[in-house]
C-alpha cells in the first residue's frame, strides 16, 4: 500500500499494489477510485473461529484476504512481501506474540495501517491500541459494517504518505528543480526529499545553496508532509505526515540505533520508508528529541537558555544551541557521532531537540564539528547551552526544544550568518515545536546575527548538529560548521554570535535543514538555519561578518544571502539554506525557501523585525514568528513565522498549532509549541498528556 502512494514519486514501488490504490502517485483521488475492492488484508488471530469468520466477511467486502493464526508467521509474510498487503488486522491477545508488539513491528517495518481487535473492550486496552499506533480498534464480535470501511485507513495512510512520497516522487521533480537551482545556487538544499544528502551537499555549496536550499526547501517542504498550513503557500515541500505507523517505525529505528546515536540517516535507512527523506527524519527526530526531553523532565534549561538568548545575542544562540545543544549534546555525549552523525543529528537535533539521546550523538559530533568548524566558541557555548539543556541529553531537551523553536525564527532573522543558525535553530525550534522559543530567540538573535539560537537548547543543539551537518550533510553543511559556535552561543552569544554565527549559522542552517524535516514550520527555523550553512561556509563567512554586527549583520546576511533565503520567510529563509539540510525541514524550509527567495528583503525586514523583537519577542514564540513572518511566506510551517514579525511570532505559534503534527500536538501539549505540524503523531498527542 504504501507503495502506491509512494509510488508516485518513488517509482511506484507499490505499483503493484497501487493498482488498487491509486496507481501510486495519484493523489488520494485515484486511490479512492480503486478502493475498496481488492484491498489486500492480512488477518492475524489465534482463534480459528474468528479467523474464519473474518476471512469470510472480508471476502464479502471483496477484499483479498490472507489468514494467519500466528503473529510470527504474519510478520514473516509481511517481510517477505513488503508491499503485498495494504492493511493488517490483528487480534490483541495472541499466544506467541502480543498484538501490540506486532502492531509496532508492522508500523515500523512496513508502515502499514494496522487495526487491532479484541473481545476486550476495556478502555485501557483500546487506549493502548491507539498509543501504539493502531489506526482502529474493533471490538469483537466484529461486524461486517466495521470491516467494510477499513479501506479508509489505507487511503488515509497513503495520503499522509504521499506527502512524503511527494517528496520522493516529487523529489525527482524537486531534484531536478533543485538541481537547477543548485546549479544556480549550488547547494540548493535539496528539498529534503530527494536526498537528504543531496541537499546537504548542495547546500553546503554555499551561497547558492541558500537560494537553492530555499528552493529545495520549498520543494521539499511541499512534498514533505502535508502542508497543512502550507497548502496555502504551497511552496514548501510537502510535509511528511508522521502517521502512527510511520512514527512507530521511526521510534523503532531510533531505539535500535540508540537514542543517542540515532542519526537521521541511519534512521532513514532503518525505516526504509520510500519517499521519506532524511530531512523528514531529521526534523522528526528533532521533534522527537524534544518530546523525549520533555518526558524526561528536561529541565528547562533550554527554556532558560532561550530566555537568556532572547535577551542577548547569546540568547539567541542559546536557543538554538539548546535545541541543538541537546541534540548536539547528545551527540557530543556519545562523542561517537562522527561528524556525519553529528550533522545528521544536528539536523535531527534541529528538528528535534528531544532526541537528546540521539542527539547526544549529534551533540558530540557537533562538538567535534566545532573543532572542525572552528566553532570553538560556540562549542563551549554550545556545550553550555547544551549542557544546560541537555544535561543529559535528552531529558533536558526541553529547554532546547524551545530554543529550537525560537531559534529558527529568531535566528533567521538575525543572523545572516547567525541566521543560519538562527534559521536553523528557528527551524529547529520550530520544528521542535518550541516554536515560540526559538522564534523568540531567533528574533532576538536575528539582529544579532546568529540566531539567538533557538532557545538555547535548540541553538545549541543546532549547532552541533549543524556543524555536523555541514560536513556531512551536504545540505546542512553550511550549518554544521557553524552550529557549534553560532548556535550555541547562548552564553556568549553576542560575541560568539559573530563568530559563532558563522558557525552557528552554519550549524543553524544545518539544523534548519534538519528541522524542516519535521514539519517544523521551519519557516521559522529557517531563520535559523536559513543561515544555512548550506551555503556552507560561505555563509559562515558572511555570517561572521554579519555577526559582528549581529544585529545588523543578520540582516545583511539575509539580504546577501538572499540567495535562497527569503529570510523573510522567516528564519526559514535561513532554512532555505538549510534546505539542503533540512530537507526535513522542508516545512520550515519551505518557508525559508520561499521566504528566502523572496526575500532578501523580507529577511531583512524580518530581521529587523526580529531585531525589534529581539529582545524577547515573546518568549520563544515571537521570534519565530518574526522570522517567519517576514520572509516566509514560507509554505513551511513557518507560517507563524511569517506572521509579521511580531505578530508573526504570535502567529507562529498559531501556525504551529495548525500544523498539528503529532509532534506538535505532543509538544504543544507539553507546553512546547509544536514546531511543525509535521509530526502527525497521534500517539504523541496521547503521550503528551501523561507527560
Amino acid at each position: 500500500m504504501m507503495n502506491p502512494s509512494h509510488g508516485r514519486g518513488l517509482g511506484s514501488a507499490g505499483g503493484s499494489s497501487s493498482g488498487r490504490n491509486q496507481g501510486g502517485g495519484g493523489g488520494g483521488e485515484t486511490v479512492v477510485e480503486m478502493f475498496p475492492s481488492g484491498l489486500r488484508v492480512l488477518v492475524v488471530d489465534d482463534d480459528p473461529t474468528c479467523l474464519m469468520i473474518l476471512e469470510r466477511m472480508l471476502m464479502s467486502c471483496l477484499y483479498e484476504v490472507t489468514k494467519c493464526n500466528r503473529a510470527e508467521l504474519a510478520l514473516s509474510l509481511l517481510r517477505k512481501n513488503k508491499h503485498g498487503f495494504d492493511i493488517v488486522i490483528s487480534d490483541v491477545h495472541m499466544p506467541d506474540m502480543d498484538g501490540f508488539k506486532l502492531l509496532e513491528h508492522v508500523g515500523l517495518e512496513m508502515d502499514l495501517p494496522v487495526i487491532m481487535m479484541s473481545a476486550d473492550d476495556s478502555k485501557s486496552v483500546v487506549l493502548k491500541g491507539v498509543t501504539h499506533g493502531a489506526v482502529d480498534y474493533l471490538i469483537k464480535p466484529v461486524r461486517m459494517e466495521a470491516l467494510k470501511n477499513i479501506w479508509q485507513h489505507v487511503v488515509r495512510k497513503r495520503r499522509s504518505e504521499w506527502s512524503v512520497p511527494e517528496h520522493s516522487g516529487s523529489i525527482e521533480e524537486t531534484r531536478d528543480r533543485q538541481q537547477q537551482q543548485h546549479r544556480g545556487g549550488n547547494a540548493a538544499i535539496s528539498g529534503g526529499e530527494d536526498a537528504v544528502d543531496d541537499n546537504s551537499s548542495s547546500v553546503n555549496e554555499g551561497n547558492n545553496w541558500r537560494s537553492n536550499s530555499r528552493k529545495r526547501k520549498d520543494e521539499d517542504g511541499e512534498e514533505q508532509g502535508d502542508d497543512k498550513d502550507e497548502d496555502a503557500s504551497n511552496l514548501k515541500k510537502p510535509r511528511v505526515v508522521w502517521s502512527v505507523e510511520l512514527h512507530q517505525q521511526f521510534v523503532a529505528a531510533v531505539n535500535q540505533l540508540g537514542v543517542e546515536k540515532a542519526v537521521p540517516k541511519k534512521i532513514l535507512e532503518l525505516m526504509n520508508v520510500p519517499g521519506l527523506t532524511r530531512e523528514n527524519v531529521a526534523s522528526h527526530l528533532q521533534k522527537y528529541r524534544i518530546y523525549l526531553r520533555r518526558l524526561g523532565g528536561v529541565s528547562q534549561h533550554q527554556g532558560n537558555l532561550n530566555n537568556s538568548f532572547m535577551t542577548g545575542q547569546d540568547a539567541s544562540f542559546a536557543p538554538l544551541s539548546t535545541l541543538n545543544g541537546f541534540d548536539l549534546q547528545a551527540l557530543a555525549v556519545t562523542g561517537q557521532l562522527p561528524a556525519q552523525s553529528l550533522a545528521q543529528l544536528q539536523a535531527a537535533g534541529l528538528g528535534r531537540p528531544t532526541m537528546v539521546s540521539k542527539s547526544g550523538l549529534p551533540v558530540s559530533s557537533i562538538v567535534d564539528e566545532r573543532s572542525i568548524f572552528s566553532f570553538d566558541n560556540s562549542k563551549t557555548r554550545f556545550g553550555e547551552g547544551l549542557g544546560h539543556h541537555h544535561g543529559q541529553q535528552q531529558p533536558q531537551q526541553q529547554p532546547q526544544m524551545n530554543l529550537l523553536h525560537g531559534v529558527p525564527t529568531g535566528l533567521q532573522q538575525q543572523l545572516p550568518m547567525g541566521n543560519r543558525m538562527s534559521i536553523q535553530q528557528q527551524i529547529a525550534a520550530v520544528r521542535a515545536g518550541h516554536s515560540v522559543q526559538n522564534s523568540g530567540m531567533l528574533m532576538q538573535s536575528l539582529p544579532r546575527g546568529p540566531p539567538p539560537m533557538l532557545t538555547s537548547s535548540q541553538s545549541s543543539i543546532r549547532q552541533p548538529m549543524l556543524s555536523n551537518r555541514i560536513p556531512e550533510r551536504s545540505g546542512f553543511s553550511g550549518r554544521n560548521n557553524i552550529p557549534e559556535s553560532s548556535r550555541v552561543l547562548p552564553t556568549g552569544y553576542t560575541n560568539h554570535l559573530t563568530t559563532q554565527h558563522s558557525s552557528s549559522s552554519l550549524a543553524y542552517n544545518n539544523f534548519q535543514t534538519e528541522l524542516p524535516v519535521n514539519s517544523f514550520p521551519l519557516a521559522s527555523a529557517p531563520g535559523l538555519s536559513a543561515v544555512p550553512v548550506r551555503k556552507t561556509n560561505s555563509y559562515q563567512e558572511e555570517v561572521n561578518s554579519s555577526e559582528a554586527g549581529f544585529a545588523t549583520p543578520s540582516y545583511d546576511m539575509f539580504t546577501t544571502r538572499q540567495n535562497d533565503w527569503d529570510l523573510r520567510s522567516i528564519g526559514i529563509a535561513f532554512d532555505s539554506h538549510q534546505d539542503a539540510e533540512s530537507a526535513a525541514f522542508s516545512n520550515s524550509e519551505a518557508y525559508s525557501s520561499s521566504s528566502m527567495s523572496r526575500n532578501n528583503n523580507t529577511t531583512v525586514a524580518a530581521t529587523e523585525h526580529v531585531r525589534n523583537h529581539q529582545q524577547q519577542p515573546h518568549p520563544g514564540m515571537v521570534p519565530h514568528h518574526q522570522v517567519y513572518a517576514d520572509g516566509n511566506s514560507g509554505s513551511v510551517r513557518v507560517k507563524s513565522e511569517r506572521v509579521a514579525a511580531d505578530s508573526a511570532a504570535m502567529a507562529f505559534h498559531e501556525q504551529y498549532s495548525n500544523q498539528e503534527d503529532l509532534m506538535s500536538a505532543l509538544l504543544k501539549q507539553e507546553g512546547i509549541a509544536p514546531v511543525d505540524g509535521e509530526f502527525d503523531f497521534d500517539a504523541y498527542s496521547i503521550d503528551n498528556i501523561p507527560v
Partner: protein
C-alpha cells in the same frame, strides 16, 4: 421442512442461545459458501472443546492461576461472541469476573455452568444444521442463478 428449520432457529434466538452475531454469519452464507455457518460452528465447537479441556485441567490442578484462567476464558469468550453464542458468552464473562476477584469457588461454579451451556448449544445447533441440510438450501440461499 424449511419452516421447521426456521422455527428451530427462531427458538434458539428467543431462548437466548444465539444472538445477532449468528445472523451476521448467516448473511455471509451464500451460494458460494452454502455451509458457511455450519462450518464455522463446527470449527467453534472443536476449538472451544480444546479450550474447555485446558481450563478443566487447570482447575483440576487446584492451583488457581487466575491469570492463566482469565486468558483462556478471554479466548473462549472471543470465539463465543464471534459465533453469537450468547449464553456461553455470558458465562464466560461471569467466569472472568470471578477470576479477577480471585474467587475460586465462583470460578468453578461458573465453569460448570458454562460447560453445560456449551454442550446444550452444541446439541441444538447440530440438530438445527442437520435439519437445515435436510430441508435443502434455505430460501434465502436459493437465489436465482
Amino acid at each position: 421442512m424449511q419452516r421447521q428449520v426456521a422455527l428451530i432457529k427462531q427458538s434458539l434466538f428467543d431462548q437466548g442461545y444465539l444472538d445477532e452475531q449468528f445472523m451476521e454469519l448467516e448473511e455471509l452464507q451464500d451460494d458460494a459458501n452454502p455451509n458457511f455457518v455450519e462450518e464455522v460452528s463446527a470449527l467453534y465447537f472443536k476449538d472451544s472443546a480444546r479450550l474447555i479441556n485446558n481450563i478443566d485441567q487447570a482447575l483440576e490442578r487446584g492451583s488457581f492461576d487466575f491469570n492463566r484462567l482469565d486468558n483462556y476464558m478471554h479466548q473462549f469468550k472471543g470465539s463465543s461472541t464471534s459465533i453469537g453464542a450468547s449464553k456461553v458468552k455470558t458465562e464466560c464473562t461471569k467466569f472472568r469476573e470471578y477470576c479477577r476477584a480471585g474467587n475460586a469457588e465462583g470460578c468453578l461454579r461458573t465453569f460448570h455452568q458454562l460447560k453445560k451451556e456449551h454442550s446444550t448449544l452444541r446439541k441444538k445447533l447440530e440438530h438445527y444444521f442437520q435439519l437445515a441440510r435436510q430441508a435443502g438450501p434455505k430460501e434465502t440461499a436459493r437465489r436465482p442463478k
